[in-house]
Amino acid sequence: MEAHALMTARQPRNRRGYRAAYVLTLVVPLAAGLSYSLRGTAYTPPFNLVEVAPGNFVHLGRQVSFEDPDTDDIANIGFIVGEKCVAVVDTGGSVAVGRALRDAIREHTPAPICYVINTHSHFDHYFGNVAFKDDGPQFIGHRKLPEALGGDNAYVLEHFGRYLGEHPSNADIIPPGRTVDSTLELDLGGKTLRLTAYPTAHTHCDLSVLDVGTGTLWLGDLLFRERLPSFDGSVLGWLKVIGTLEQEHGVKTVIPGHGPIGEDLEAAFADEKRYMETVVSEVRAQIADGRDIDQAVETVGLSERERWLLWDQQHKRNVSRAYTELEWE
């Protein structure tokens, strides 16, 4: 598992070479375990940052698994700078990553941080919110995001609470104070952002951010590139949302929640869409053939295997989720 995380995209895996795989399985966890011990629970620099379009700065997350020791820095996060205000789009999976992002903002502009936007409810995108609390920004999210973050977060605190400090509690999880029903425009001073809320897709609360002037679209986890998408909301709903997004005109830069920056919207969605359509059609065939979940997870989508990172950690779960959704069609 660990070994796969370190490979680059499109690199074919040794499917039969069990011996080689075992060697990697032996060495890599030791290295990962050791580096984790030395580094402790905090993210450590250097903090990469790219200006992908005028005023749009992206920090690219690492393509490692949730099961890795260091999973606080896996999401693409960043900020947009206007003449009057800065808007943050996702804050990373730990207070440390959030602080590193805040430091990066301060290197580029003294403008106040007016908005912190969270694209959805997964911890790798919002645990860093707490690093911006003292700036007093408006925290903004989908109308369903408060439901997802506002209650008891026992599950995420138990599994990932270490990224919030020594005594993580619900108070460290900051839900939005302002929500988006369908769309919302924000003026940063010479820059207009258009936020769009979607029906259930990757999650129940996906939100995108468009910098209208430069045609830069921040998609959060509506778009995974190279890293295998994870199904949490509805795979059919997600495909519908992709269909809607492909109709957008004037997008010149596409920022996925995970993976490299794209230029053409349709091209950027191509892999994800093909993967999801493949899983949907093959799961439907399994259901029609009377095969149960345990058989479906072993056979569905295998043609996609070499095209994605972190396949072993996520694919079968996706098939299982798609199955339980599609069997009630």
């Binding site: 598992m1 660990e2 069990y18 075992y22 399985t25 032996l26 966890p29 030791l30 990962a32 375990g33 050791l34 580096s35 984790y36 011990s37 030395l38 402790g40 629970t41 020791p69 439901e147 997802a148 973050l149 506002g150 209650g151 008891d152 026992a154 599950y155 599994h159 129940h204 949490d232 029609a288 053939d289 009377g290 095969r291 149960d292 979940i293 345990d294 058989q295 997870v297 079968k316 779960r317 098939v319 299982s320 989720r321 339980t324 069997e327 009630w328």
Partner: protein, 294 residues
């Protein structure tokens, strides 16, 4: 560096060694019960508590002469872990399985359910989907008509299946509760045992997840009785609990003969009752094939 972070790193490394050992065993198609190093409890709940609680002094034979069980080594979705139990012989009036217990040792409610069969069942196979809260042993205990208890045990890696945030809209899920589906799998042949799949739409709330809208615990609300009767003969009767996944689904065998009616009676923990009848005809709507057994 403090001891805690060092410990975590060490545990991560050990966990992968554990996975490696079992990976090799699986390659030899052996099921080995391995307790991983990062197991959260030192208590063997089965030995210290459950065995006595469920079976008192009854002798339990651990072998595969009566049933075998298939579970994933690692549950990909802990809230929906497929478990299939296969009987090693057909039901006959002389020798049949009258009851199956399914137990997940480390779940908050270990007994998933009890499932009753008759000689008319054909074959006492059962496939179901369970929640798994943490790394655990899963057990199936078959009780024969002569009173013998035979047990098989598998080890499953998973976590979070019981307290995992409910994956949907609570209010929407309750709206469709009680909707049922039944289908036969494969071609129906007279005088043969036939695989059937029965599913109920029900959120099966565990009582451990949170209503994110109110911040309150969602009270337990689950299917606790399932009775399936085919042409007035009981095919399966089950008492079930919160360890059954959302939208409970069961696969089992029955003898369709030349057709008839399968009646399903469901009851949940709040006293809601639903009934539905399904026609079973000799010629299925579409000719479909299935792999052997469940």
């Amino acid at each position: 560096m403090n001891m805690q972070t060092f410990g975590r790193g060490l545990i991560a490394a050990l966990a992968f060694f554990g996975a490696l050992q079992v990976g090799q065993a699986a390659a030899e198609e052996k099921l080995e019960i391995v307790r991983p190093k990062d197991f959260k409890s030192d208590v063997d709940l089965w030995a210290t508590f459950l065995r006595d609680a469920y079976f008192k002094d009854t002798e339990i034979i651990e072998d595969k002469t009566v049933i075998d069980m298939k579970t994933p080594y690692r549950a990909e979705d802990a809230a929906v872990t497929p478990v299939s139990i296969t009987a090693q012989f057909d039901q006959s009036p002389d020798r049949y399985i009258e009851k199956l217990y399914v137990i997940v040792d480390n779940n908050p409610q270990p007994l998933v359910g009890t499932f009753h069969f008759t000689p008319d069942t054909g074959k006492a196979d059962l496939a179901l989907r369970v929640r798994i809260d943490r790394y655990t042993n899963i057990r199936a205990v078959a009780v024969l008509n002569n009173g013998e208890h035979h047990m098989v045990t598998n080890y499953v890696k998973a976590s979070g299946g019981c307290s995992d945030p409910f994956g949907g809209d609570i209010y929407e899920a309750l709206k469709s509760a009680g909707k049922m589906k039944f289908r036969t799998v494969g071609e129906i042949l007279a005088d043969q045992t036939q695989l059937g799949q029965f599913s109920i739409s029900h959120p099966n709330f565990t009582g451990m997840s949170i209503n994110q809208r109110t911040g309150n615990i969602v009270p337990p609300h689950f299917v606790n009785r399932v009775t399936l009767v085919y042409n007035d003969k009981v095919v399966m009767k089950a008492e079930t609990g919160i360890s059954i996944s959302q939208d409970p689904s069961f696969r089992f065998f029955f003898k369709p003969g030349s057709g008839g009616t399968l009646r399903a009676d469901i009851e949940d923990s709040k006293g809601n009752k639903w009934s539905e009848a399904f026609d079973v005809t000799e010629a299925p709507a579409t000719a479909v094939t299935a792999d052997k057994g469940t």
